[in-house]
Protein backbone atom coordinates (compact mmCIF):
# COMPACT_ATOMS: atom_id res chain seq x y z
CA UNK A 1 0.00 0.00 0.00
CA UNK A 2 1.12 3.56 -0.69
CA UNK A 3 1.80 5.88 2.26
CA UNK A 4 -0.78 8.44 1.19
CA UNK A 5 -3.44 5.75 0.80
CA UNK A 6 -2.58 4.37 4.25
CA UNK A 7 -3.08 7.87 5.63
CA UNK A 8 -6.56 8.11 4.07
CA UNK A 9 -7.46 4.60 5.26
CA UNK A 10 -6.23 5.37 8.79
CA UNK A 11 -8.38 8.50 8.82
CA UNK A 12 -11.51 6.65 7.77
CA UNK A 13 -10.84 3.88 10.30
CA UNK A 14 -10.58 6.57 12.98
CA UNK A 15 -14.00 7.88 12.04
CA UNK A 16 -13.04 10.85 9.88
CA UNK A 17 -16.19 11.70 7.90
CA UNK A 18 -15.38 15.11 6.42
CA UNK A 19 -12.53 15.96 4.09
CA UNK A 20 -12.12 19.42 2.52
CA UNK A 21 -9.06 19.80 0.33
CA UNK A 22 -7.33 21.26 -2.68
CA UNK A 23 -5.07 19.17 -4.94
CA UNK A 24 -1.32 19.53 -4.54
CA UNK A 25 1.62 17.21 -5.23
CA UNK A 26 2.74 15.11 -3.42
CA UNK A 27 -0.40 14.89 -1.23
CA UNK A 28 -3.11 14.51 -3.88
CA UNK A 29 -3.60 10.75 -3.54
CA UNK A 30 -5.03 11.38 -0.08
CA UNK A 31 -7.78 13.66 -1.45
CA UNK A 32 -8.44 11.27 -4.34
CA UNK A 33 -8.77 8.31 -2.02
CA UNK A 34 -11.07 10.24 0.31
CA UNK A 35 -13.21 11.25 -2.70
CA UNK A 36 -13.52 7.57 -3.54
CA UNK A 37 -14.10 6.19 -0.06
CA UNK A 38 -15.94 8.80 2.03
CA UNK A 39 -19.25 8.64 0.13
CA UNK A 40 -19.32 4.89 0.82
CA UNK A 41 -19.33 5.46 4.58
CA UNK A 42 -21.83 8.34 4.51
CA UNK A 43 -19.04 10.88 4.75
CA UNK A 44 -18.52 14.17 2.94
CA UNK A 45 -15.73 14.92 0.49
CA UNK A 46 -15.49 18.39 -0.95
CA UNK A 47 -12.84 19.89 -3.18
CA UNK A 48 -12.67 23.52 -2.06
CA UNK A 49 -11.55 26.53 -4.11
CA UNK A 50 -8.23 26.88 -2.27
CA UNK A 51 -6.47 25.90 0.95
CA UNK A 52 -7.83 28.85 2.93
CA UNK A 53 -11.27 27.45 2.21
CA UNK A 54 -10.19 23.84 2.85
CA UNK A 55 -9.02 24.70 6.33
CA UNK A 56 -12.15 26.77 6.99
CA UNK A 57 -14.42 23.95 5.85
CA UNK A 58 -12.90 21.34 8.16
CA UNK A 59 -13.23 23.71 11.13
CA UNK A 60 -16.90 24.32 10.27
CA UNK A 61 -17.47 20.57 10.01
CA UNK A 62 -15.73 19.94 13.32
CA UNK A 63 -18.20 22.22 15.13
CA UNK A 64 -21.03 19.89 14.15
CA UNK A 65 -19.10 17.13 15.95
CA UNK A 66 -17.53 15.48 12.89
CA UNK A 67 -13.98 14.25 12.73
CA UNK A 68 -12.54 16.28 9.86
CA UNK A 69 -9.28 16.48 7.96
CA UNK A 70 -7.43 18.16 5.12
CA UNK A 71 -4.18 17.28 3.35
CA UNK A 72 -1.72 19.50 1.54
CA UNK A 73 1.93 20.35 0.92
CA UNK A 74 4.10 23.47 1.44
CA UNK A 75 2.36 26.09 -0.73
CA UNK A 76 -1.07 25.05 0.55
CA UNK A 77 0.23 24.77 4.11
CA UNK A 78 1.24 28.43 3.93
CA UNK A 79 -2.30 29.38 2.90
CA UNK A 80 -3.76 27.37 5.78
CA UNK A 81 -1.87 29.28 8.44
CA UNK A 82 -4.58 31.92 8.92
CA UNK A 83 -7.30 29.46 9.80
CA UNK A 84 -4.95 27.15 11.72
CA UNK A 85 -4.59 30.08 14.12
CA UNK A 86 -8.39 30.31 14.23
CA UNK A 87 -8.62 26.60 15.09
CA UNK A 88 -6.09 27.06 17.89
CA UNK A 89 -7.88 30.10 19.33
CA UNK A 90 -11.33 28.49 19.14
CA UNK A 91 -10.02 25.07 20.32
CA UNK A 92 -11.37 23.26 17.29
CA UNK A 93 -10.22 19.64 16.89
CA UNK A 94 -9.06 18.86 13.36
CA UNK A 95 -6.28 17.04 11.52
CA UNK A 96 -3.98 18.65 8.96
CA UNK A 97 -1.74 16.40 6.87
CA UNK A 98 1.34 17.96 5.29
CA UNK A 99 3.14 15.76 2.76
CA UNK A 100 6.23 17.95 2.74
CA UNK A 101 8.11 18.83 -0.43
CA UNK A 102 11.14 21.03 -1.10
CA UNK A 103 10.58 24.75 -0.53
CA UNK A 104 10.60 27.72 -0.32
CA UNK A 105 7.78 28.60 -2.70
CA UNK A 106 6.78 26.07 -5.37
CA UNK A 107 10.24 24.57 -4.90
CA UNK A 108 10.42 20.83 -5.63
CA UNK A 109 6.89 19.48 -6.02
CA UNK A 110 7.94 15.85 -6.40
CA UNK A 111 10.80 15.67 -3.91
CA UNK A 112 10.66 15.00 -0.17
CA UNK A 113 11.69 17.44 2.55
CA UNK A 114 11.14 18.27 6.21
CA UNK A 115 11.35 22.02 5.77
CA UNK A 116 7.97 22.90 7.30
CA UNK A 117 8.63 21.65 10.84
CA UNK A 118 9.07 25.15 12.26
CA UNK A 119 6.21 26.55 10.19
CA UNK A 120 4.02 23.86 11.73
CA UNK A 121 5.17 24.90 15.19
CA UNK A 122 5.09 28.68 14.78
CA UNK A 123 3.62 29.52 11.34
CA UNK A 124 0.44 31.31 12.36
CA UNK A 125 0.64 34.60 14.23
CA UNK A 126 0.64 34.86 18.01
CA UNK A 127 1.82 32.42 20.68
CA UNK A 128 0.42 28.91 20.68
CA UNK A 129 1.22 25.21 20.88
CA UNK A 130 0.11 22.35 18.67
CA UNK A 131 0.78 18.64 18.28
CA UNK A 132 2.78 17.23 15.36
CA UNK A 133 3.36 13.58 14.47
CA UNK A 134 5.96 12.32 12.05
CA UNK A 135 5.67 8.88 10.40
CA UNK A 136 8.67 6.97 9.03
CA UNK A 137 6.81 4.10 7.34
CA UNK A 138 3.57 3.28 5.58
CA UNK A 139 2.42 1.43 8.69
CA UNK A 140 2.94 4.60 10.70
CA UNK A 141 1.08 6.66 8.11
CA UNK A 142 -1.95 4.54 9.00
CA UNK A 143 -1.41 4.41 12.74
CA UNK A 144 -0.35 7.98 13.35
CA UNK A 145 -3.17 9.41 11.22
CA UNK A 146 -5.67 7.50 13.34
CA UNK A 147 -3.88 8.62 16.49
CA UNK A 148 -3.93 12.26 15.32
CA UNK A 149 -7.73 12.29 15.53
CA UNK A 150 -7.68 11.07 19.13
CA UNK A 151 -5.15 13.71 20.15
CA UNK A 152 -7.13 16.43 18.33
CA UNK A 153 -10.31 15.47 20.18
CA UNK A 154 -8.60 15.01 23.53
CA UNK A 155 -6.77 18.35 23.48
CA UNK A 156 -9.12 20.33 21.21
CA UNK A 157 -6.28 21.47 19.00
CA UNK A 158 -5.25 21.09 15.35
CA UNK A 159 -3.00 18.04 15.07
CA UNK A 160 -0.48 17.80 12.24
CA UNK A 161 0.69 14.72 10.44
CA UNK A 162 4.05 16.05 9.22
CA UNK A 163 4.94 13.48 6.61
CA UNK A 164 6.81 13.98 3.34
CA UNK A 165 7.01 12.88 -0.27
CA UNK A 166 9.24 9.92 0.56
CA UNK A 167 6.85 8.24 3.01
CA UNK A 168 3.77 9.53 1.19
CA UNK A 169 4.78 7.80 -2.03
CA UNK A 170 6.54 4.82 -0.45
CA UNK A 171 4.90 1.42 -0.94
CA UNK A 172 5.12 -1.12 1.88
CA UNK A 173 3.14 -4.01 3.23
CA UNK A 174 1.11 -3.05 6.28
CA UNK A 175 -1.04 -4.71 8.93
CA UNK A 176 -4.48 -3.19 9.18
CA UNK A 177 -6.05 -3.81 12.59
CA UNK A 178 -9.74 -4.78 12.87
CA UNK A 179 -10.28 -1.65 14.89
CA UNK A 180 -8.25 1.40 15.84
CA UNK A 181 -8.50 2.78 19.39
CA UNK A 182 -10.89 5.73 19.52
CA UNK A 183 -10.95 8.40 22.23
CA UNK A 184 -14.20 10.36 22.09
CA UNK A 185 -14.30 14.14 22.28
CA UNK A 186 -15.69 14.99 25.73
CA UNK A 187 -18.95 16.95 25.65
CA UNK A 188 -19.61 20.15 27.54
CA UNK A 189 -21.62 19.53 30.71
CA UNK A 190 -24.87 21.45 30.49
CA UNK A 191 -24.77 24.45 32.80
CA UNK A 192 -20.99 24.90 32.43
CA UNK A 193 -19.70 27.97 30.60
CA UNK A 194 -18.64 26.88 27.10
CA UNK A 195 -14.97 27.87 27.43
CA UNK A 196 -14.55 26.96 31.09
CA UNK A 197 -11.69 24.42 31.21
CA UNK A 198 -11.73 21.21 33.20
CA UNK A 199 -8.74 20.22 35.36
CA UNK A 200 -6.85 19.12 32.21
CA UNK A 201 -7.19 22.74 30.95
CA UNK A 202 -9.45 21.53 28.12
CA UNK A 203 -13.11 22.64 28.06
CA UNK A 204 -15.86 20.17 27.12
CA UNK A 205 -17.06 20.49 23.54
CA UNK A 206 -20.44 22.17 22.86
CA UNK A 207 -21.41 20.66 19.53
CA UNK A 208 -23.54 22.85 17.22
CA UNK A 209 -27.18 21.85 17.04
CA UNK A 210 -27.38 20.52 20.61
CA UNK A 211 -28.91 23.64 22.14
CA UNK A 212 -25.77 25.03 23.78
CA UNK A 213 -26.14 28.35 21.96
CA UNK A 214 -22.37 28.78 21.93
CA UNK A 215 -20.67 31.79 20.32
CA UNK A 216 -17.34 30.84 18.77
CA UNK A 217 -14.94 33.63 17.85
CA UNK A 218 -11.27 34.02 16.98
CA UNK A 219 -11.25 37.19 19.04
CA UNK A 220 -9.92 36.96 22.57
CA UNK A 221 -12.94 35.73 24.52
CA UNK A 222 -14.06 35.05 28.07
CA UNK A 223 -15.37 31.71 29.32
CA UNK A 224 -18.79 32.52 27.91
CA UNK A 225 -17.12 32.72 24.49
CA UNK A 226 -17.85 36.44 24.26
CA UNK A 227 -15.32 38.79 22.68
CA UNK A 228 -13.31 40.68 25.25
CA UNK A 229 -10.32 41.86 23.34
CA UNK A 230 -8.96 44.70 25.46
CA UNK A 231 -8.40 43.07 28.85
CA UNK A 232 -4.67 42.30 29.18
CA UNK A 233 -5.21 39.78 31.98
CA UNK A 234 -7.92 37.87 30.20
CA UNK A 235 -5.87 37.61 27.02
CA UNK A 236 -2.80 36.47 28.90
CA UNK A 237 -4.75 33.83 30.82
CA UNK A 238 -6.39 32.51 27.67
CA UNK A 239 -3.20 32.24 25.62
CA UNK A 240 -1.27 30.70 28.52
CA UNK A 241 -3.98 28.11 28.97
CA UNK A 242 -3.99 27.27 25.24
CA UNK A 243 -0.22 26.76 25.41
CA UNK A 244 -0.18 24.98 28.77
CA UNK A 245 -2.90 22.48 27.96
CA UNK A 246 -0.42 21.06 25.41
CA UNK A 247 2.93 21.75 27.07
CA UNK A 248 1.90 20.41 30.47
CA UNK A 249 0.96 17.14 28.76
CA UNK A 250 4.26 16.73 26.87
CA UNK A 251 5.15 13.47 28.54
CA UNK A 252 1.70 12.01 28.01
CA UNK A 253 1.69 13.01 24.33
CA UNK A 254 5.29 11.85 23.78
CA UNK A 255 5.78 8.87 21.47
CA UNK A 256 9.32 7.67 20.70
CA UNK A 257 11.57 4.65 20.69
CA UNK A 258 15.05 4.31 22.09
CA UNK A 259 18.02 2.22 21.00
CA UNK A 260 21.21 1.84 23.08
CA UNK A 261 20.48 4.25 25.94
CA UNK A 262 24.08 3.88 27.24
CA UNK A 263 25.54 5.26 24.01
CA UNK A 264 27.81 8.29 23.86
CA UNK A 265 26.88 9.28 20.33
CA UNK A 266 23.16 9.62 19.89
CA UNK A 267 21.18 10.15 16.70
CA UNK A 268 17.86 11.96 17.06
CA UNK A 269 15.48 11.49 14.14
CA UNK A 270 11.86 11.78 13.01
CA UNK A 271 10.38 10.74 9.68
CA UNK A 272 12.47 9.08 6.92
CA UNK A 273 15.99 9.80 8.29
CA UNK A 274 15.04 7.36 11.06
CA UNK A 275 15.20 4.58 8.47
CA UNK A 276 18.77 5.45 7.47
CA UNK A 277 19.90 5.64 11.08
CA UNK A 278 18.30 2.29 11.90
CA UNK A 279 20.27 0.82 9.01
CA UNK A 280 23.51 2.34 10.29
CA UNK A 281 22.97 0.99 13.81
CA UNK A 282 22.17 -2.46 12.40
CA UNK A 283 25.15 -2.48 10.02
CA UNK A 284 27.68 -1.35 12.60
CA UNK A 285 26.31 -3.56 15.36
CA UNK A 286 27.83 -1.25 17.96
CA UNK A 287 26.17 -0.36 21.24
CA UNK A 288 27.93 2.99 21.60
CA UNK A 289 25.66 4.50 18.95
CA UNK A 290 22.25 5.44 20.28
CA UNK A 291 19.07 6.37 18.49
CA UNK A 292 16.12 8.43 19.70
CA UNK A 293 13.38 8.11 17.12
CA UNK A 294 10.52 10.55 17.57
CA UNK A 295 7.00 9.91 16.37
CA UNK A 296 5.79 13.06 18.12
CA UNK A 297 7.93 16.12 17.38
CA UNK A 298 5.71 18.84 18.89
CA UNK A 299 5.37 19.31 21.80
CA UNK A 300 9.04 18.38 21.90
CA UNK A 301 9.59 15.50 24.38
CA UNK A 302 12.70 16.97 26.00
CA UNK A 303 12.75 14.42 28.84
CA UNK A 304 13.52 11.69 26.27
CA UNK A 305 16.94 13.27 25.71
CA UNK A 306 17.82 12.71 29.38
CA UNK A 307 17.32 8.96 28.98
CA UNK A 308 20.71 8.92 27.23
CA UNK A 309 22.65 9.43 30.46
CA UNK A 310 26.11 8.97 28.93
CA UNK A 311 25.48 11.02 25.80
CA UNK A 312 28.46 13.10 24.70
CA UNK A 313 26.94 14.40 21.48
CA UNK A 314 23.64 14.41 19.59
CA UNK A 315 23.57 14.02 15.82
CA UNK A 316 20.44 15.22 14.06
CA UNK A 317 19.96 14.22 10.43
CA UNK A 318 17.03 16.18 9.00
CA UNK A 319 15.85 16.95 5.49
CA UNK A 320 16.12 20.66 6.24
CA UNK A 321 18.86 22.96 7.51
CA UNK A 322 18.56 21.95 11.15
CA UNK A 323 15.11 23.00 12.34
CA UNK A 324 14.61 20.43 15.10
CA UNK A 325 18.36 20.36 15.90
CA UNK A 326 17.92 23.91 17.17
CA UNK A 327 15.10 22.80 19.43
CA UNK A 328 17.34 20.05 20.86
CA UNK A 329 20.10 22.60 21.52
CA UNK A 330 17.73 24.41 23.85
CA UNK A 331 17.45 21.35 26.06
CA UNK A 332 20.95 19.85 26.35
CA UNK A 333 24.46 20.98 27.29
CA UNK A 334 26.23 18.50 24.99
CA UNK A 335 27.10 19.49 21.42
CA UNK A 336 24.22 19.11 18.96
CA UNK A 337 25.41 18.45 15.44
CA UNK A 338 22.87 19.03 12.66
CA UNK A 339 23.24 16.88 9.57
CA UNK A 340 21.22 18.86 7.06
CA UNK A 341 20.12 17.49 3.73
CA UNK A 342 18.33 19.42 1.00
CA UNK A 343 17.34 18.52 -2.54
CA UNK A 344 14.98 15.62 -2.03
CA UNK A 345 17.27 12.66 -1.37
CA UNK A 346 17.39 10.97 1.97
CA UNK A 347 20.68 10.71 3.91
CA UNK A 348 22.21 7.40 2.84
CA UNK A 349 23.51 5.05 5.56
CA UNK A 350 27.00 5.35 4.05
CA UNK A 351 26.87 9.10 4.30
CA UNK A 352 25.96 8.85 7.97
CA UNK A 353 28.68 6.26 8.62
CA UNK A 354 31.21 8.59 7.03
CA UNK A 355 29.99 11.32 9.34
CA UNK A 356 30.57 9.04 12.33
CA UNK A 357 34.12 8.34 11.15
CA UNK A 358 34.91 12.04 11.02
CA UNK A 359 33.55 12.56 14.52
CA UNK A 360 35.51 9.73 16.11
Amino acid sequence: MQGNIACAEGAIAAGCRFFGGYPITPSTEIAEHMALKLPKVDGVFIQMEDELASMASIIGASWTGMRSMTATSGPGFSLMMENIGFAVMTETPCVVVNIQRGGPSTGQPTMGAQGDMMQCRFGSHGDYSVIALSPASVQEMYELTAKAFNLADEFRVPVFLMSDEIVGHMRERIDIPDQVPIVQRKSLQKGTLPFHPDADLVPGFPRFGEGYGVHVTGLTHDERGYPCATSPGLHEDLVMRLVNKIESARDRIADYSITNPEAETVFVTYGPPARSVEQVVRDLGRDDIGHLRLRVVWPFPESALNLFASAKQFLVPEMNMGQVAREIERHVDQPVIPIPKLGGNLHSPDELKARLEVLR
Partner: protein, 262 residues
Protein backbone atom coordinates in the same frame (compact mmCIF):
# COMPACT_ATOMS: atom_id res chain seq x y z
CA UNK B 1 -41.86 33.47 20.81
CA UNK B 2 -41.06 36.85 19.32
CA UNK B 3 -38.06 37.90 17.26
CA UNK B 4 -36.70 39.71 20.30
CA UNK B 5 -36.22 36.40 22.09
CA UNK B 6 -33.48 35.63 19.58
CA UNK B 7 -31.27 38.44 20.88
CA UNK B 8 -28.45 37.59 23.25
CA UNK B 9 -29.47 40.07 25.93
CA UNK B 10 -26.27 39.72 27.95
CA UNK B 11 -24.17 40.95 25.02
CA UNK B 12 -25.69 44.43 25.18
CA UNK B 13 -24.62 47.17 24.69
CA UNK B 14 -23.57 46.36 21.13
CA UNK B 15 -20.64 47.92 19.29
CA UNK B 16 -22.64 49.68 16.58
CA UNK B 17 -22.59 53.46 16.20
CA UNK B 18 -25.88 55.22 16.67
CA UNK B 19 -27.67 55.44 13.34
CA UNK B 20 -25.84 52.41 11.90
CA UNK B 21 -27.97 50.41 9.46
CA UNK B 22 -26.75 47.01 10.63
CA UNK B 23 -29.25 46.81 13.51
CA UNK B 24 -32.14 47.12 11.06
CA UNK B 25 -30.82 44.21 9.02
CA UNK B 26 -30.42 42.02 12.11
CA UNK B 27 -33.99 42.87 13.16
CA UNK B 28 -35.33 42.02 9.71
CA UNK B 29 -33.41 38.74 9.72
CA UNK B 30 -34.75 37.69 13.11
CA UNK B 31 -38.28 38.67 12.16
CA UNK B 32 -37.96 36.46 9.08
CA UNK B 33 -36.55 33.58 11.14
CA UNK B 34 -39.31 33.95 13.70
CA UNK B 35 -42.00 34.03 11.02
CA UNK B 36 -40.68 30.86 9.39
CA UNK B 37 -40.57 29.18 12.78
CA UNK B 38 -37.01 27.96 12.75
CA UNK B 39 -35.86 26.59 16.10
CA UNK B 40 -32.95 28.12 17.96
CA UNK B 41 -31.15 24.83 18.37
CA UNK B 42 -31.40 24.06 14.64
CA UNK B 43 -30.08 27.39 13.45
CA UNK B 44 -26.46 28.56 13.14
CA UNK B 45 -25.23 32.05 12.24
CA UNK B 46 -21.79 32.30 10.63
CA UNK B 47 -19.93 35.51 9.83
CA UNK B 48 -16.54 36.88 8.78
CA UNK B 49 -14.90 40.06 10.08
CA UNK B 50 -16.25 43.60 10.02
CA UNK B 51 -18.97 45.60 11.79
CA UNK B 52 -21.58 43.65 9.82
CA UNK B 53 -19.97 40.33 10.74
CA UNK B 54 -20.31 41.07 14.45
CA UNK B 55 -24.03 40.38 14.02
CA UNK B 56 -23.66 36.64 14.66
CA UNK B 57 -22.56 37.31 18.24
CA UNK B 58 -25.77 39.12 19.18
CA UNK B 59 -28.00 36.13 18.54
CA UNK B 60 -28.71 33.33 21.03
CA UNK B 61 -28.10 30.40 18.68
CA UNK B 62 -24.82 28.61 18.01
CA UNK B 63 -22.68 31.03 16.02
CA UNK B 64 -19.29 31.06 14.36
CA UNK B 65 -17.48 34.41 14.01
CA UNK B 66 -14.63 33.47 11.72
CA UNK B 67 -11.75 35.09 9.80
CA UNK B 68 -11.95 37.99 7.34
CA UNK B 69 -13.60 36.87 4.11
CA UNK B 70 -13.88 33.19 5.00
CA UNK B 71 -17.37 32.90 6.45
CA UNK B 72 -18.65 31.02 3.39
CA UNK B 73 -16.15 28.14 3.45
CA UNK B 74 -16.70 27.77 7.21
CA UNK B 75 -20.47 27.73 6.61
CA UNK B 76 -19.93 25.19 3.83
CA UNK B 77 -18.30 22.84 6.33
CA UNK B 78 -21.10 23.32 8.87
CA UNK B 79 -23.91 22.82 6.37
CA UNK B 80 -22.46 19.87 4.47
CA UNK B 81 -21.57 18.01 7.65
CA UNK B 82 -25.03 18.58 9.15
CA UNK B 83 -27.70 19.48 6.56
CA UNK B 84 -30.34 19.50 9.31
CA UNK B 85 -29.01 22.83 10.53
CA UNK B 86 -30.33 26.09 9.05
CA UNK B 87 -27.24 28.12 8.28
CA UNK B 88 -27.30 31.91 7.81
CA UNK B 89 -24.22 33.93 6.90
CA UNK B 90 -23.77 37.61 7.79
CA UNK B 91 -21.10 39.42 5.81
CA UNK B 92 -20.03 42.86 4.61
CA UNK B 93 -19.05 44.27 1.23
CA UNK B 94 -15.34 44.09 2.05
CA UNK B 95 -15.60 40.67 3.67
CA UNK B 96 -17.60 39.15 0.83
CA UNK B 97 -16.42 40.93 -2.30
CA UNK B 98 -12.75 41.77 -1.62
CA UNK B 99 -10.91 39.23 0.53
CA UNK B 100 -13.72 36.68 0.24
CA UNK B 101 -14.60 37.21 -3.42
CA UNK B 102 -13.39 33.82 -4.58
CA UNK B 103 -15.30 32.00 -1.85
CA UNK B 104 -18.43 33.99 -2.81
CA UNK B 105 -18.51 32.93 -6.45
CA UNK B 106 -17.76 29.31 -5.58
CA UNK B 107 -20.45 29.12 -2.89
CA UNK B 108 -22.93 30.49 -5.46
CA UNK B 109 -21.71 28.04 -8.09
CA UNK B 110 -22.08 25.10 -5.70
CA UNK B 111 -25.44 26.55 -4.71
CA UNK B 112 -25.03 25.36 -1.13
CA UNK B 113 -28.20 25.67 0.94
CA UNK B 114 -27.18 28.80 2.85
CA UNK B 115 -28.84 32.18 3.34
CA UNK B 116 -26.19 34.85 2.82
CA UNK B 117 -27.02 38.37 4.00
CA UNK B 118 -24.58 41.07 2.94
CA UNK B 119 -24.73 44.45 4.65
CA UNK B 120 -23.33 46.59 1.88
CA UNK B 121 -22.38 49.98 3.31
CA UNK B 122 -19.99 50.61 0.40
CA UNK B 123 -17.09 51.07 2.81
CA UNK B 124 -14.79 49.29 5.28
CA UNK B 125 -16.61 50.42 8.40
CA UNK B 126 -14.72 48.58 11.10
CA UNK B 127 -11.24 49.71 10.05
CA UNK B 128 -12.23 53.35 9.77
CA UNK B 129 -13.59 54.05 6.31
CA UNK B 130 -11.30 52.72 3.59
CA UNK B 131 -12.60 52.15 0.07
CA UNK B 132 -14.20 48.77 -0.69
CA UNK B 133 -15.00 46.99 -3.97
CA UNK B 134 -18.49 48.49 -3.79
CA UNK B 135 -17.44 52.09 -3.08
CA UNK B 136 -19.06 54.07 -5.92
CA UNK B 137 -16.75 55.74 -8.44
CA UNK B 138 -16.02 59.23 -7.23
CA UNK B 139 -16.91 58.56 -3.57
CA UNK B 140 -14.56 59.70 -0.83
CA UNK B 141 -12.96 57.35 1.67
CA UNK B 142 -9.72 57.43 3.65
CA UNK B 143 -7.95 55.51 0.87
CA UNK B 144 -9.70 57.36 -1.97
CA UNK B 145 -9.13 60.92 -0.74
CA UNK B 146 -9.55 62.28 -4.30
CA UNK B 147 -12.61 60.16 -5.08
CA UNK B 148 -12.61 56.48 -5.97
CA UNK B 149 -11.23 55.91 -9.46
CA UNK B 150 -12.32 52.26 -9.64
CA UNK B 151 -15.64 50.95 -10.89
CA UNK B 152 -17.75 49.22 -8.21
CA UNK B 153 -18.91 45.61 -8.11
CA UNK B 154 -22.61 44.82 -8.47
CA UNK B 155 -22.82 41.99 -5.94
CA UNK B 156 -26.33 40.84 -6.78
CA UNK B 157 -25.61 40.60 -10.51
CA UNK B 158 -22.47 38.68 -9.58
CA UNK B 159 -24.48 36.21 -7.48
CA UNK B 160 -26.95 35.71 -10.33
CA UNK B 161 -24.15 35.07 -12.81
CA UNK B 162 -22.38 32.69 -10.41
CA UNK B 163 -25.48 30.52 -9.94
CA UNK B 164 -27.29 31.36 -6.67
CA UNK B 165 -30.87 30.10 -6.55
CA UNK B 166 -32.33 33.23 -4.97
CA UNK B 167 -30.99 36.79 -5.22
CA UNK B 168 -32.58 40.02 -4.00
CA UNK B 169 -31.38 43.49 -3.11
CA UNK B 170 -33.12 45.92 -0.78
CA UNK B 171 -32.01 48.62 1.61
CA UNK B 172 -32.31 49.32 5.31
CA UNK B 173 -35.08 51.78 4.38
CA UNK B 174 -37.18 48.97 2.84
CA UNK B 175 -37.78 47.07 6.07
CA UNK B 176 -40.88 45.12 5.02
CA UNK B 177 -39.53 44.15 1.62
CA UNK B 178 -36.19 43.19 3.11
CA UNK B 179 -37.81 40.97 5.75
CA UNK B 180 -39.93 39.29 3.09
CA UNK B 181 -36.90 38.76 0.84
CA UNK B 182 -34.86 37.22 3.66
CA UNK B 183 -37.77 34.89 4.41
CA UNK B 184 -38.08 33.94 0.75
CA UNK B 185 -34.36 33.29 0.65
CA UNK B 186 -34.51 31.08 3.72
CA UNK B 187 -37.30 29.04 2.19
CA UNK B 188 -35.51 28.58 -1.14
CA UNK B 189 -33.24 25.53 -1.25
CA UNK B 190 -29.75 26.36 -2.50
CA UNK B 191 -27.77 29.53 -1.99
CA UNK B 192 -29.87 32.61 -1.31
CA UNK B 193 -28.15 35.95 -1.49
CA UNK B 194 -29.81 38.99 0.02
CA UNK B 195 -27.87 42.19 -0.41
CA UNK B 196 -28.94 45.11 1.70
CA UNK B 197 -27.64 48.61 1.19
CA UNK B 198 -27.06 49.93 4.72
CA UNK B 199 -26.03 53.32 5.98
CA UNK B 200 -22.70 53.80 7.71
CA UNK B 201 -23.04 57.34 8.96
CA UNK B 202 -19.68 57.27 10.74
CA UNK B 203 -17.42 56.26 7.89
CA UNK B 204 -19.36 56.78 4.67
CA UNK B 205 -22.11 59.37 5.13
CA UNK B 206 -19.91 61.85 6.97
CA UNK B 207 -17.41 62.02 4.11
CA UNK B 208 -19.88 61.98 1.27
CA UNK B 209 -22.24 64.90 1.87
CA UNK B 210 -24.75 62.69 3.69
CA UNK B 211 -24.03 64.05 7.13
CA UNK B 212 -27.23 63.05 8.87
CA UNK B 213 -28.39 59.46 9.16
CA UNK B 214 -31.67 60.62 7.66
CA UNK B 215 -29.79 61.99 4.61
CA UNK B 216 -28.45 58.53 3.90
CA UNK B 217 -31.79 56.82 4.43
CA UNK B 218 -33.46 59.45 2.20
CA UNK B 219 -30.82 58.74 -0.43
CA UNK B 220 -31.63 55.01 -0.36
CA UNK B 221 -35.30 55.83 -0.72
CA UNK B 222 -34.85 58.27 -3.61
CA UNK B 223 -32.03 56.62 -5.52
CA UNK B 224 -33.44 53.13 -5.82
CA UNK B 225 -35.85 51.64 -8.32
CA UNK B 226 -37.11 48.17 -9.04
CA UNK B 227 -34.78 46.29 -11.31
CA UNK B 228 -37.64 45.36 -13.65
CA UNK B 229 -38.60 49.01 -13.99
CA UNK B 230 -35.04 50.00 -14.80
CA UNK B 231 -34.87 47.23 -17.41
CA UNK B 232 -38.07 48.55 -19.02
CA UNK B 233 -36.67 52.07 -19.05
CA UNK B 234 -33.52 50.89 -20.75
CA UNK B 235 -35.46 48.84 -23.30
CA UNK B 236 -37.57 51.84 -24.23
CA UNK B 237 -34.44 53.94 -24.71
CA UNK B 238 -34.84 56.05 -21.58
CA UNK B 239 -31.70 57.09 -19.76
CA UNK B 240 -31.22 55.67 -16.25
CA UNK B 241 -29.13 57.94 -14.01
CA UNK B 242 -25.84 56.33 -12.97
CA UNK B 243 -26.48 56.64 -9.23
CA UNK B 244 -29.77 54.76 -9.24
CA UNK B 245 -29.50 51.38 -7.51
CA UNK B 246 -31.59 48.47 -8.76
CA UNK B 247 -33.61 46.80 -5.99
CA UNK B 248 -36.05 43.91 -5.82
CA UNK B 249 -35.86 40.23 -6.62
CA UNK B 250 -33.14 39.45 -9.15
CA UNK B 251 -33.67 35.73 -9.52
CA UNK B 252 -35.59 32.82 -8.02
CA UNK B 253 -34.83 29.47 -9.62
CA UNK B 254 -34.30 25.81 -9.04
CA UNK B 255 -30.75 24.89 -10.02
CA UNK B 256 -29.49 21.69 -8.32
CA UNK B 257 -28.31 22.57 -4.82
CA UNK B 258 -25.88 21.07 -2.27
CA UNK B 259 -26.39 20.50 1.45
CA UNK B 260 -30.19 20.46 1.33
CA UNK B 261 -31.79 18.67 4.30
CA UNK B 262 -32.43 15.04 3.36
Amino acid sequence: MSYQDWFRQDRLPHIYCSGCGNGTVINCTLMAVDEIGWKENETVFVSGIGCSSRASGYIVTDSLHTTHGRALPFATGVKLSNPDLNVVVFTGDGDLAAIGGNHFIHACRRNIDLTVICMNNQIYGMTGGQGSPTTPAGALSTTTPYGSSEPAFDLSELAVAAGANYVARWTSYHVKELTRAIGAGMRTPGLSFIETMTQCPTNYGRRNKLRQVTDQVEFMKNHTALRQKLDRMRESGQKVPADVIAIGEFVRRDRPAMGVRR
